[in-house]
Amino acid sequence: MTDKTMSADQAVARLESGMTLGIGGWGARRKPMALVRALLRTAVTDLTVVSYGGPDVGLLAAAGRIRKLVTAFVTLDSIPLEPHYRAARESGAIELTEVDEAMFMWGLHAAANRLPFLPVRAGLGSDVLRVGRGLRTVTSPYADPSTGVREEFVAMPALRLDAALVHMNRADRLGNGQYLGPDPYFDDLFCEAADAAYVSCERIVDTADLIKEGAPQTLLLQRSSVTGVVETPNGAHFTSCVPDYGRDEAFQKLYATTGHAEFAERFLSGDEHAYQRAVQAWQKEGTP
C-alpha cells in the first residue's frame, strides 16, 4: 500500500504555472486554505481556477495568480462580496467564465465520468450562454412522449482539472478521505475530475479508525482518486470545518477589511506554523 503523506509544500511543488486547478469546499466553507497558503509561497501563477469561490479565490486573485476563473459565485458567506475578487474583476485582471451552480456541478460530473459534456436545462435564456465563451447546446434525440418536442439543452463541457485541492476532516495515509460535517460539498467530484488530487486534513488517522469517527457514508474520498495526503490542523482556517471548528468570523472580517499587502506582511510572510502563530497572536490581542 502506498503511503501518500507529504507536506503542504511538497504537494504544491507538484503544481505548475498555467495549470487548471480545482479547489474544493464552498464559499467560505471547508476550503483547503493551508494548501492555498502553501501555493502562495511558490511562484506558480497564470492559473485557471475552478471553484465555488470563497477566500481561496480572493487570496489567489490578490496575489495575481489567477488568469482565468470558472465559477458560479465568489462569496465569504457572512460577508456577501469577496473584496479582493471584486477588485481584481473591476480592474479587469481576471478572465471569467461564469456558469450557474448546477452547470458547474454537471461540468465536474462530466469530467469525473470522462464525458465531453452533460446536458443541463440551466443556462438557457440567461446571459451565461452569451458570456460563456463557446458554450453550445445539444438537442435530445428523443421526442417528449406528450408534446412530441425534442428538447434543447445546454451542453455543459467537462471541467477537467490538472489538479485538485480539497480539505477533509480526517484521512488515512493512503488517501481515504472523510468529512464529518453536514455537507460533503463536491470534493469527491473535484478529486475524480482531476489528474492529481491533494487532500489536506485536520488529522491523519489509522485506516481502522476512520469508521470509528463516522458512518460509512462519511468516507467521501477513495484512495484511487487521491495523489497526496497532507496533515494540516486548522488547515481550513478561517473558513468553517465543522464539527472540528466553525468559521473564524472575526478573522475573516479582518481579512476582508485589511489591504492585501498589510495582511500578507502580517500573516503570509512565513510558513503555515508562522501563520497559525500569527493568528493566535492576533486573537490574544482581541481578548481583554
Partner: protein, 249 residues
C-alpha cells in the same frame, strides 16, 4: 400596535408559498425567511424548510432530513421547490441580475455572480424580494440576465419555458406579478399607506396598473402573534424595512 410595513412585507412574501403543497421553501434574505416560517406554521403546513445549511428542519428547528447542496440541486431541477431570491436589478419581464453592474470584461461593480439563478428560474417557481423598491433596481434592461424572465424564456424555446414560472415580486411598497397577456410586470397590490403613484415613481419602466389596485391583505391576529412573539421576537424585520416605511411615513 398597528401593523408595520415590515409585517405587511412578511405577509406578502408568505403568500408566495400559499397552495404550494409539499415542496421546499427556499427563502433568501431576512423577511422571506420569516415569511416562509410563517407560511409553514399557518396555511402551508406541508412546506419543507432548511436550517440554511444542509438539514431539513421543522418549525422548531428539529431535523427531519438531509439536504446537502448536491441534493438541493436535485430539489431544484426536480421542481419540488419555490425559491424567493433577491435582485440587484429586475426588468419588466422578470429578468434578474445579481452578477455585476456594467461591462462583462471589466464591470463597474462586481457583485455575487449568477449563483443558482439560471437553474432556479428554468426549473422551479421563483419569486423575488426587493427590500427597497427603486428605479435603480426596477430597470428597463438588466446588465446581465441571471434569473430568466418571461420574454427570454419564451425566446429560448420549449425546454426553457417548460417549467419556468415567476409567481410574484414583493417589495417594501407593493406586490407585483406577471398576470398580463404579454407577461409583463403588473401591480398586484400596494401595501397600506403606499399610493400607486409612489410605486410608479419608484419603477424605472412602464408598469401595468389595473384600474383598481387592491391593498395587500391585513395579517390575522394569529399571524401577528407568530411574527412578533415566536418567529422574530427581536424585531429584526424592522431593520430591513423601517416600521413606517422608508421616509417615516
Amino acid at each position: 400596535m398597528r401593523t408595520t410595513r415590515a409585517e405587511y412585507c412578511v405577509i406578502a412574501c408568505a403568500e408566495a408559498w400559499r397552495g404550494d403543497g409539499e415542496v421546499l421553501a427556499s427563502p433568501m434574505g431576512l423577511i422571506p425567511s420569516i415569511a416562509a416560517r410563517l407560511a409553514r406554521r399557518t396555511f402551508s403546513p406541508d412546506l419543507l424548510l432548511t436550517d440554511g445549511e444542509a438539514m431539513l428542519v421543522g418549525p422548531d428547528g428539529t431535523p427531519e432530513g438531509w439536504l446537502p447542496y448536491r441534493r438541493h440541486l436535485t430539489a431544484v431541477t426536480g421542481g419540488r421547490r419555490h425559491v424567493m431570491m433577491g435582485a440587484s436589478q429586475i426588468d419588466r419581464f422578470g429578468n434578474q441580475n445579481i452578477s455585476r453592474i456594467g461591462d462583462w470584461e471589466r464591470p463597474a461593480r462586481q457583485l455575487l455572480g449568477v449563483r443558482g439563478a439560471p437553474v432556479n428560474t428554468l426549473n422551479n417557481a421563483t419569486s423575488y424580494w426587493i427590500p427597497k423598491h427603486s428605479p435603480r433596481v426596477f430597470v428597463e434592461r438588466v446588465d446581465m440576465v441571471c434569473g430568466v424572465g418571461y420574454d427570454r424564456a419564451a425566446a429560448a424555446g420549449p425546454s426553457a419555458a417548460r417549467f419556468h414560472r415567476l409567481p410574484r415580486v414583493v417589495t417594501d411598497l407593493a406586490v407585483l406579478d406577471f398576470a398580463t397577456p404579454d407577461r409583463s410586470m403588473r401591480l398586484a397590490s400596494v401595501h397600506p399607506g403606499v399610493t400607486v403613484d409612489e410605486v410608479r415613481a419608484a419603477t424605472g419602466f412602464a408598469l401595468t396598473v389595473p384600474d383598481e389596485v387592491p391593498s395587500t391583505r391585513e395579517p390575522t391576529d394569529r399571524e401577528l402573534e407568530l411574527i412578533r412573539e415566536v418567529i422574530d421576537p427581536t424585531g429584526a424585520r424592522d431593520r430591513e424595512v423601517p416600521p413606517a416605511g422608508r421616509d417615516g411615513r
